[in-house]
């Protein structure tokens, strides 16, 4: 309905292959960016910035990372949180141990460290597939968290194993207010999301999808299995690593390895299942849902008690939340295996074809 595409024709491949070939999409994306970079900073309060938007962005980034691996390359991973942990601790150590290390460089290096670890744990993917691989990634989850807890060097011998993220300073500007952290996170996430989008619509993305859809054929047309899968692990882990660093530096400020537990990995997996496997947009939608939904349930619980005057059993909401999440996962897998992103896609198609149904 809102899409008026008549007259939008492409006279070059460059125009045809741009990220958003439809003008209305470009306008919408522009509007979202304006909203995120200008409207939000002007209107959002601290709570929204630091408790919802920043984690939402960080989880989106992690979800993109997982989506690249699982959604695009078809390699199910349950170790996302561990790669985030690698990123968080690596960034901390780079800043701690290399004098004068710029923060952004540290983030990139943190991603690189996570990528290396990802490659290491991706090696088994050459021989094993499917949930065998999923189980193998659990090894990464448990081992990495254990190693970070166990070897004091990683946490600078902090007695508790907790690390305190250093202050973020870029070109003399201190990022310590929630707003500045939000803008920093937003910028990094926007850039990386764009890069992810570029990758998935380029050769490397096609190589991942090829391996996912039909690995023998992928190899036959010349995608080396080893390099392709490992590149997926590396890039995915890079994203998770950067997300982990942001998680420590822009969100919590202090983290302990146990914070990057299996539960977090599952949470991110849920984001992509609900949001949309194999979709960058889905990563954002899923993250938004998983971040907001519990908060929503939680914040209605108290007022609800007041309103109806009945004391709800302790934990009711939290248990319901678990059940609803579980049920939603199943529901989505049954009804719409491609998640919210597909629903969005369908809605958009409908709008494009409106008033026709097909």
């Amino acid at each position: 309905m809102l899409y008026r595409e008549a007259g939008q024709f492409k006279s070059s491949y460059a125009a045809d292959q741009q990220i958003f070939p439809i003008r209305q999409d470009r306008i919408a994306v522009g509007a979202v960016l304006v909203f995120a970079f200008i409207v939000v900073p002007l209107t959002a309060d601290q709570y929204w910035l630091s408790a919802i938007l920043v984690p939402f962005l960080i989880f989106s980034l992690a979800a993109i990372g997982l989506n690249l691996l699982t959604g695009y390359a078809g390699q199910l991973s349950l170790g996302t949180a561990a790669f985030m942990a690698v990123g968080a601790f690596a960034a901390y150590n780079f800043l701690l141990r290399v004098p004068g290390m710029p923060v952004l460089v540290a983030f990139v290096l943190a991603g690189a460290c996570a990528a290396l670890v990802g490659i290491l744990f991706g090696l088994p993917s050459l021989r094993i597939k499917g949930f065998y691989l999923a189980v193998a990634t659990l090894a990464a989850q448990f081992f990495i968290v254990w190693a970070l807890t166990k070897f004091g060097w990683f946490s600078n011998y902090s007695s508790s194993g907790v690390i305190n993220a250093q202050k973020i300073e870029i070109l003399g500007y201190r990022f310590d207010s929630p707003l500045s952290k939000y803008l920093l996170t937003l910028s990094i996430v926007a850039v990386l999301a764009l890069a992810a989008k570029n990758m998935v619509r380029g050769t490397v993305g096609r190589s991942w999808m090829a391996v996912r859809d039909m690995d023998v054929a992928a190899e036959v047309i010349g995608f080396p299995m080893l390099r392709t899968k490992l590149s997926a692990f590396a890039v995915s882990s890079f994203y998770c690593g950067v997300a982990g660093a942001l998680y420590a530096f822009c969100y919590l400020g202090t983290v302990e390895p146990e914070g990057f537990n299996l539960d977090l990995s599952f949470r991110i997996l849920f984001m992509i299942i609900l949001g949309g496997v194999g979709s960058i947009l889905g990563s954002f939608l899923g993250a938004a849902f998983i971040v907001l939904f519990p908060i929503f349930l939680n914040s209605v619980a108290g007022p609800l008690e007041h309103a109806i005057g009945v004391k709800l059993p302790a934990g009711l909401m939290s248990n319901l939340e678990l059940m609803i999440f579980g049920a939603l996962i199943i529901l989505f897998l049954i009804v719409e295996p491609h998640g919210l992103a597909r629903l969005w896609q369908i809605g958009k198609e409908k709008l494009r074809l409106w008033p026709f149904p097909h």
């Binding site: 045809d16 292959q17 050769t203 490397v204 054929a217």
Partner: protein, 261 residues
């Protein structure tokens, strides 16, 4: 019409034997393929035809035998290495990438010619963007060649069988192969689709000079379009020669007795 110059032998298979567990798929099969020719492999079901193709491009590794491709002898090869050397193929059961559009599927065929690193692709700067555009043009030519313009953006999973086969051929062609292996390119097609596919195969062979090895059940098609035919039965070679030779071969007639064609 005879403009193709059939050249030297470019692929030679000698004494290939292949077994899965205890089951022998191929036993001491030898034959060769000349440059620019259309070489057919025929035989009843289970004769080892697909195994033969799989041996050529390294999906299966024969226990015994030698493969000589363009003068280099090798025992075995991994498939992507074969691709690198200019061998492309299609599969008996369509092996398209179901989650991708026709265009992207065909683009994957260009992968060996793309050089941009992941980083370049991520920022889509310089080489990466340029390559995408250049290769898109190439792919469009193939789309044009195979007349599948109208399904360019369709996810391959939604296409009818015949078109999927055509897209698979397009993907193989996108690699600009020297040697094209076609595993039953016309299986399951109706007469019209078969005619189209025959024409495409011949056009490829003619226009690009691509050497073609194909497996086909339809005797008529095989006899029409191939220069030489190898006949396999129970993993052994029972005939080899021009279509006419093969048609006259006693062993072949026996093997095909009862097989309606």
């Amino acid at each position: 019409m005879e403009q193709r110059r059939i050249g030297e032998v470019i692929l030679r298979l000698e004494d290939i034997s292949l077994a899965f567990g205890g089951v022998k798929a191929l036993s001491e099969v030898s034959f060769d393929v000349r440059e620019h020719e259309v070489r057919a492999i025929i035989g009843p079901n289970g004769a080892g035809k697909s195994s033969m193709l799989n041996v050529i491009n390294g999906v299966y590794h024969p226990q015994v035998g030698r493969i000589t491709y363009r003068g280099t002898q090798r025992q075995q090869m991994v498939p992507h290495e074969a691709a690198r050397q200019g061998i492309a193929r299609t599969f008996q059961n369509i092996a398209l990438f179901k989650g991708m559009s026709v265009l992207d599927n065909i683009m994957t065929g260009r992968n060996l010619k793309m050089k941009a690193t992941i980083l370049e692709q991520a920022i889509r700067f310089g080489r990466a963007g340029r390559e995408e555009l250049e290769h898109r043009r190439k792919v469009e030519e193939i789309i044009d060649f195979l007349q599948i313009q109208h399904i360019r953006r369709t996810p391959v999973g939604k296409l009818p069988y015949g078109l999927q086969k055509r897209v698979e051929l397009a993907r193989a062609l996108a690699a600009e192969p020297d040697l094209l292996l076609l595993d039953e390119p016309m299986a399951g097609m109706n007469v019209e689709e078969k005619q189209d596919m025959c024409r495409f195969v011949l056009d490829v062979n003619e226009q690009y000079g691509t050497t073609i090895v194909l497996i086909e059940h339809d005797m008529g098609v095989v006899m029409d379009i191939s220069d030489r035919v190898v006949v396999l039965d129970y993993g052994r070679k029972i005939g080899d020669g021009t279509p006419d030779d093969v048609r006259a071969n006693k062993a072949v007639i026996d093997a095909y007795l009862g097989v309606a064609h």
